[in-house]
Amino acid sequence: MDDSARREFAGFAAARSGALIRVAFLLTGDQHAAEDLLQTAFTKAAARWGRIHTAPEAYVRQVMYREQVSGWRRRARHSETVMAELPDQAAAVSEVSAETRLGLQQALRALPAGKRAVLVLRYFEDLPEAQVASILGCSVGTVRSQSHKAITQLRAALAADGLTNTEVGP
């Protein structure tokens, strides 16, 4: 019984890790932190596998979002800040098409975890506000206000860099 569950879990992890790491990377902005987040989410999923094995991905995603937002709150008190990548790692390859887009990416990385999570759910996962609120465990009003504040912050960051911000906004 336990062995078949373990195989089922391993199959799920192998199949969905690639997609989930993209979300984790967006939430954390760092490869190692993303892997840690995904590992934590998988561990929690394994603990509740008997109850979630029919739809594990939704649970893993919810854990990642909630863990990142609450984890960010914890880290705000006990800061362990990644100041720069350790140089022994290979640099990530990126196709940057425009200065504005690059500026937008930098501004997204600089957003607080809670606001970034809202934007990832709304604009990357393409979820409606009600579902975003359900995943984050907050009200629809909070999602709206966080989304609004995040976009305002993105605009301000782009303006500070002297880049166009007219296209940014719902």
């Binding site: 790491i21 984790a24 998988f42 509740r48 800061s79 196709e95 887009r101 604009y123 990357f124």
Partner: protein, 402 residues
């Protein structure tokens, strides 16, 4: 629904494309998850037990039944198997105005040459492959108030493990370990009156005093502690719990740490200190982090030391057994018989070049008898010997184990 051409959506997709394939340890996740599930079951059972423990004695008291058993107090001595006769440990000790290697087998001290006489003896600090020795004798006529400026340079010496001859490293403010065998970092100031922060330089030099690289100016407010990989660990002048990993070649900060508990040539063990935190080990060369099962809630109270090769981390929480975390297998092993009450002193270190943990302990209140013990991976129990000789006890208590 959002538009796929929306700039935020596009930027997020480009960001997501930068994620590399994950290195997820699926079996670890499964095992940890099952442990978590079992722990939840145990906690639930424990909660029931706590309620019963509170209710049953009360019920017994009402019925005139027996009281519950008191909690077993911590031992005053280490317990284990007898240590084989002739087991030898070398302990670096002060002997007269010099230093010596003390052998626990022969109970004799062998004098170490190459050190000038020092009335106050020497202070030792461990580096990879040996020890740094610096005179305890205070330098006269400090040019400014204590803890404001660097003061006169001190002479530093290196004693290789087991060597009977010390070599002169050079004069400076502080010498720190480096990850390179036969090399150390020497911190210096341009003059004795220079302020502690802002003008120190660090240079990699050989243990015989030969420069191996350029001088690097350290950032203001940060003091040199040790080399890790090709970087330096610096501690904040005002807050000793705050450290940075600093790249001397690029002159930039790579990372901040709240509470570092131990370092090895390539690794840093630390904990943010939060309620549910675990001790983490970062390998600075590979950039990988391992989260250990060691509770990191109170990192200041943890005693920890890496083995020479960095594979094993011995760690002790107050009033608990010494535990050894194997970074290769990621297993944590508790060493039975090492949890002592606060009535006893205890210190431990790894034998140089080998995976043997040496532990000394004795009563705080009176001089002896003391105990000397060792443990190595695979051992179920400690090997313990009793030490009755007063001089030997003092040397174990003050000397550098290994």
């Amino acid at each position: 629904m959002s538009d796929p051409g929306h700039p935020i959506t596009a930027a997020l997709r480009e960001l997501a494309d930068q994620a590399a394939p994950p290195r997820i340890r699926v079996d670890d996740a499964w095992r940890a998850g099952r442990r978590r599930r079992r722990a939840a079951t145990i906690i639930a059972a424990a909660a029931v037990a706590v309620v019963l423990a509170a209710v049953v004695p009360a019920a017994n008291a009402l019925r005139g039944g027996p009281p519950s058993q008191p909690t077993r107090p911590l031992a005053a001595k280490m317990t284990g198997l007898p240590m084989p006769a002739g087991t030898n440990f070398q302990v670096l000790v002060n002997a007269g105005d010099g230093a010596a290697w003390y052998s626990t087998a022969t109970r004799r001290a062998e004098h170490i040459g190459g050190l000038p006489p020092s009335q106050g003896g020497y202070q030792f600090s461990g580096v990879y492959g040996g020890w740094i020795a610096v005179s305890n004798q205070s330098t006269s006529s400090t040019p400014c108030a204590v803890n404001v400026c660097a003061g006169r340079p001190k002479k530093f010496y290196f004693i290789a493990d087991g060597s009977l001859t010390a070599t002169r490293i050079g004069a400076g403010y502080w010498v720190a370990a480096s990850s390179r065998p036969g090399a150390v970092w020497l911190a210096t100031y341009p003059r004795a009156s220079a302020t502690f922060t802002g003008s120190a330089t660090a240079q990699l030099i050989s243990t015989t005093g030969r420069p191996l690289g350029p001088r690097h100016r350290l950032p203001a407010d940060w003091l040199l502690i040790t080399g890790v990989g090709s970087y330096l660990r610096l501690n904040n002048d005002q807050n000793n719990n705050l450290s940075i990993l600093w790249d001397p070649r690029a002159g930039r900060v790579l990372r901040h740490f709240d509470n570092i508990i131990a370092t090895s040539p390539e690794q840093i063990a630390w904990s943010p200190g939060c309620r549910s935190c675990r001790v983490q080990i970062l390998n600075v060369s590979t950039g990988t982090t391992v989260t250990t099962p060691i509770p990191g809630r109170n990192p200041a109270a943890l005693g920890a030391i890496f083995s020479d090769d960095g594979r094993l981390l011995a760690v002790q929480q107050p009033g608990r057994e010494i535990q050894v975390f194997d970074t290769a297998t990621r297993t944590l092993t508790a060493i039975p018989g090492t949890a002592l009450s606060t009535a006893a002193w205890q210190n431990f270190g790894w034998q140089p070049g080998g995976p043997r943990l040496v532990i000394a302990a004795g009563p705080n209140s009176r001089p002896g008898p003391a105990q000397l013990a060792y443990w190595q991976p695979g051992d179920a129990l400690l090997r313990v010997a009793t030490v009755r000789n007063l001089r030997e006890i003092t040397e174990l208590q003050t000397g550098q184990l290994g």
